[in-house]
């Protein structure tokens, strides 16, 4: 009888411990379930935030403005017949990062509107006018020992 009792006690104890361990598992699961939504939201937030910052990381608009203004300023200060050369490393580097493989088309000139256009992002362009009665010709970006150089000629332009 004593043996049976001890066996029963053992069984009871094992049942209790099983239940306890099951409860423990359930607690662990529910803890994960409770926090899963927080984890998912946190991951979504982090990805969105990182993507947003990555988009602005290159600050393309700033550099487009910088180069369009610098080129326009060079034209304003130039004389007819001048061949202007500007170091263009940063522009080419940014354009490549933004997926523009052909760096030769980064700069465009509208001699009718007297505008310099700089495009460092696909489908976007920043334009800035120059104020002289000049035309810009032979715009090229060349790779030299010192890096990429933008070259253009200032020629006499008719008044619109």
């Amino acid at each position: 009888m004593m043996e049976i009792k001890s066996i029963n006690n053992k069984m009871k104890f094992s049942k209790i411990s099983n239940i306890h361990s099951r409860r423990m598992d359930k607690k662990g699961e529910s803890y994960l379930e409770t926090n899963l939504i927080y984890i998912i939201l946190f991951i979504i937030f982090m990805i969105t935030g990182m993507a947003f910052l990555y988009k602005y990381q290159n600050n393309v608009y700033f550099w487009e403005q910088y180069y369009s203004y610098t080129i326009a300023k060079s034209v304003n200060n130039a004389q007819v017949g001048d061949r202007v050369e500007l170091i263009f490393n940063k522009a080419v580097e940014l354009a490549r990062k933004e997926g523009i493989a052909d760096y030769k088309n980064i700069v465009s000139v509208d001699n009718v509107k007297k505008e310099i256009g700089v495009s460092l992002q696909k489908g976007k362009k920043t334009v800035y006018p120059f104020l002289r009665n000049y035309n810009i010709d032979n715009v090229i970006v060349e790779e030299e020992i010192k890096g990429y150089v933008l070259k253009f000629s200032v020629i006499s332009g008719g008044v619109k």
């Binding site: 529910s30 379930e33 409770t34 899963l36 939504i37 927080y38 939201l41 937030f45 969105t48 935030g49 947003f52 910052l53 602005y56 600050n59 608009y61 700033f62 487009e64 403005q65 910088y66 369009s68 203004y69 300023k73 304003n76 509107k113 007297k114 256009g117 489908g123 976007k124 362009k125 920043t126 334009v127 800035y128 006018p129 120059f130 104020l131 002289r132 009665n133 008044v159 619109k160």
Partner: protein, 157 residues
């Protein structure tokens, strides 16, 4: 997750903090957006630099050439400036004897008429001009030159 939606045991208290969590993210996200946009979004303000450069250039041109102000075309030709571009982009140029703001005489030379905006000092609007003013002697007369620019680089799609 399923438990979250099917919970009928009055345990909403465990999950209610998700609202605060989302609100917190929204606040941080808006802060991030505002910070990034205010730092990178506006770009260069070139109006002041441009107006200063143009006023220096015009002063230099006026002092080194004897111009007849009755002929506007001659001014643009001699000073090598494109009249259409200046007009289209809203540049303000006004040259007067004495002071432009108080003088009742006709200006010697003028491009665009809203030079009064330059007298308001610091205008914060993006579309308002930033001006540069100069007083100098031209042909033994004290003249006042006002040059204003409201041009900014344009982003095209």
């Amino acid at each position: 997750m399923i438990c979250f939606f099917k919970n009928r045991r009055g345990q909403l208290g465990d999950q209610i903090s998700v609202i605060y969590f989302i609100v917190l993210f929204v606040i941080i996200g808006l802060g991030l957006f505002w910070g990034t946009y205010s730092f990178f979004g506006n770009g260069y303000d070139l109006r002041e630099i441009q107006s200063k450069w143009l006023s220096d250039d015009i002063q230099k041109c006026l002092l080194s050439n004897s111009l007849d102000f009755t002929n506007k075309k001659e001014f643009f030709k001699v000073c090598n400036l494109n009249e259409n571009i200046l007009n289209e982009n809203g540049f303000i140029i006004r040259l007067c004897k004495g002071n432009c703001y108080i003088s009742k005489e006709e200006p010697l030379f003028s491009v665009n008429s809203n030079y009064q905006l330059c007298g308001f000092g610091e205008l914060t609007s993006k579309n308002s001009p930033k001006c540069s003013e100069k007083n100098f002697t031209l042909k033994n007369q004290e003249v006042h030159l006002i040059v204003g620019s409201k041009i900014s680089p344009k982003r095209l799609d």
